[in-house]
């Protein structure tokens, strides 16, 4: 504790006077009448500000604050000047860890006015061991207090191994958006987009991502988005790609690029194209479909097929017309008509046209192609889960850690295999504990100023589950 002692029942610094007079803090001072005076309250604010100016600087001041009662911490953090708060937030992270440190960080955060955005970002960065800033590209927008507070509430309910101790997560950034959304990049960035008009405390999912019976329906969109993006940064580290390749995880197959997709889709269909008797014509058909895939132009399927040399004159030649109809009647062609990312096939109740037991689709336009077992949709947590294996995992992650209640409660009975896998492979506490608020211990968590009392709809206020340390 840096030589400082906790002072049980300590002074209500909210009633101390300014920076103290001549006798401020002089215990046992005499009154003018000579009668012994009651012990004067120590001027804790002055103590802290003096420490800030002294050789130990912010570290000493923060350590001194840690020894105080919650109300004292809040009072002092509130009464510091903006510059003093900024200086205090300049501590090394190692000085701010542990339950007491985390609780103090939150009280400092809550006591920091909304206008002090950089300081608010620093508190959040210290708590979660992240760079907290605007995104580096030109869509970047400064954070605001309401967004950071909401992120804090979500992140502190997740395992430390997924957030502050996660080597695959380096930054929490914000970008300008008119809707609540996010993205995660493979360089460790989790970006959250929202605008001033978005009601992040009350906005719930009403159908953009989910069907009525999906577990994520009615849940706070902002919170689910934050969890989703963190889930992206957890995925690889816990073996998500291997699980999503299993039938229980959707049986996903992924191709980065579109080369060879027409051949795969034709084979999966097993239709007339696959068994086309003329090898040269079959090659031409597949090449034509591959061109549609490569150029990403499903609207040109008919035009391009009709232009195949061996179908020249099909408008008047009955045999060629039949050939064209045979090609267009193949499920491979039907599947391609609705399989591109700009058509949002994952949003369809069927996922699209099934080929064998699988759905094939372009998940992203860079492009990435995927296929998955259609029957897995019967166990979905949201429609968006079936965009790509990474989205499958991220939506599962958002569902598993959706409060309140036991972790994975929303999965139980819907996808028990995935809940069990999350319990054993994703959650470092192996499913123990829940997502309901935990009782603050030793002043940690909860805390002064309603640290975690942000009104929420569909998601309960959260405090850390224990230390949040991995088991």
């Amino acid at each position: 504790m840096g030589g400082y002692e906790r002072r049980p029942g300590g002074t209500d610094t909210g009633s101390t006077t300014g920076t103290g007079g001549a006798n401020a803090g002089t215990v046992g001072a005499q009154t003018l009448t000579g009668a012994p005076a009651a012990p004067r309250a120590p001027d804790l604010l002055r103590e802290v500000t003096d420490l800030l100016k002294g050789p130990t600087g912010a570290a000493g001041a923060f350590e001194r604050l840690k020894t105080m009662e919650a109300a004292q911490q809040t009072s002092i953090a509130t009464r510091l000047s903006a510059a003093q708060r900024a200086k205090l937030a300049g501590i090394e992270r190692s000085a701010a860890t542990g339950d007491a440190g985390y609780a103090l960080l939150r009280r400092c955060f809550d006591a920091t006015p909304a206008a002090e955005v950089n300081t608010l970002c620093k508190w959040t960065a210290l708590r979660f061991n992240l760079t907290v800033s605007a995104t580096s590209d030109s869509t970047g927008a400064p954070w605001d207090k309401r967004g950071l507070r909401r992120c804090w509430d979500v992140l502190q309910a997740l395992p430390a191994a997924h957030v502050e101790d996660n080597a695959d997560l380096s930054s929490l950034t914000r970008y300008r958006s008119t809707s609540i959304e996010g993205w995660a990049s493979d360089d460790g960035e989790a970006a959250i987009g929202y605008g001033n008009r978005n009601k992040i405390d009350t906005a719930v999912e009403t159908g953009d991502f989910t069907d009525a019976k999906d577990p994520l329906r009615g849940k706070n969109i902002f919170d689910a988005t934050v969890r989703h993006e963190i889930g992206h940064r957890v995925d690889s580290g816990v073996g998500g790609p291997a699980y999503t390749a299993t039938d229980a995880g959707g049986g996903w197959q992924t191709w980065d690029g579109s080369d060879g997709m027409a051949e795969r889709i034709v084979a999966a269909s097993g239709g007339k194209i696959s068994g086309w008797p003329d090898a040269a014509e079959k090659t031409a058909i597949i090449a034509c479909l591959q061109g549609v895939i490569t150029d990403r132009v499903p609207n040109e399927i008919n035009t391009r097929l009709g232009a195949l040399p061996f179908l020249a004159g099909h408008a008047t030649d009955a045999a060629k017309k039949t050939k064209l109809n045979d090609i267009k009647g193949d499920q491979a062609v039907s599947a391609l008509r609705v399989a591109f990312s700009h058509q949002g096939p994952w949003d369809l109740p069927t996922g699209g046209v099934k080929l064998g037991d699988r759905i094939y689709q372009e998940s992203y336009d860079w492009p990435q192609w995927v296929s998955y077992k259609q029957e897995a949709r019967a166990r979905k947590f949201s429609r968006y889960q079936f965009r790509a294996p990474g989205e499958w995992f991220a939506e599962a992650y958002a569902t598993y850690y959706q409060p309140p209640g036991q972790k994975g409660a929303l999965m139980a009975g819907l996808d028990d295999a995935t809940k069990t896998w999350f319990d054993s492979h994703v959650d470092p506490q192996r499913g123990a504990g829940g997502t309901a608020p935990a009782a603050p211990g030793g002043g940690a968590g909860g805390g002064a100023g309603g640290a975690t009392t942000t009104p929420q709809t569909g998601a309960q206020a959260q405090t850390p589950r224990g230390s949040g340390a991995p088991s």
């Binding site: 959304e181 993205w183 978005n198 008509r337 700009h342 996922g351």
Partner: protein, 227 residues
Amino acid sequence: MIARGPRARGTHARAALALLAAVLLAAACGKSHTARGAEGGSGITKGPTQMAATQPDTAIVQDALAKELKVAPGDVKVRPLNVSVPGILVFTASVKAGRPVTRTGIVEGGVIYTETEAMSRVARAWNYGVARTVPPETVAQVFGALHLATAESSPFIDEDTVDTYRSVSGPKRAAAVAMPKEATADGHPAVVYCLTSASRGTPFSVITAMVKPGFQVELRAQPVLED
């Protein structure tokens, strides 16, 4: 490592996004811009600097997006839309800059425009309005592609695709999906078409695109949700 994609969420306020994208692209182009009213959609106008006019239109898009995202121009893939609009390139551009990013718009006179501002310029180039100078499918193809500046959208312009979509969608969308058609809305010539998008803020929707005097395009979107 595979980059994980964006999770576009919530209700999309098109005009504001258009303005944003327009400003970004304009700034990246080194062009001055004027932010028009939110109702006007895109806010890029021609600026005093015309250096871009000597560049191929695709290079202009590459440079703009590269500067916006701080990547090399060669990392930006530009796909022109295969539709003839005099003096205009209609494009979709994408880049995987650690995350997937998509932009749509037009290049006219060396300047990038997006969303309804871009549509208006296309309508002017076609002289489209009371004079229906192109088929409704063509209008839908271009306007649909330009629907969102930051996400790809796809209009239904092919009967077989309409039929396929009808067979795999829910009942409400199956009932709503149709080929583009000419219409009149509020006394203005219009085209009604259906559209899907990669943006979750834009679910399957029926769009009414009105072409007002001066070729000003105004959109009315009717999202169709299954529940």
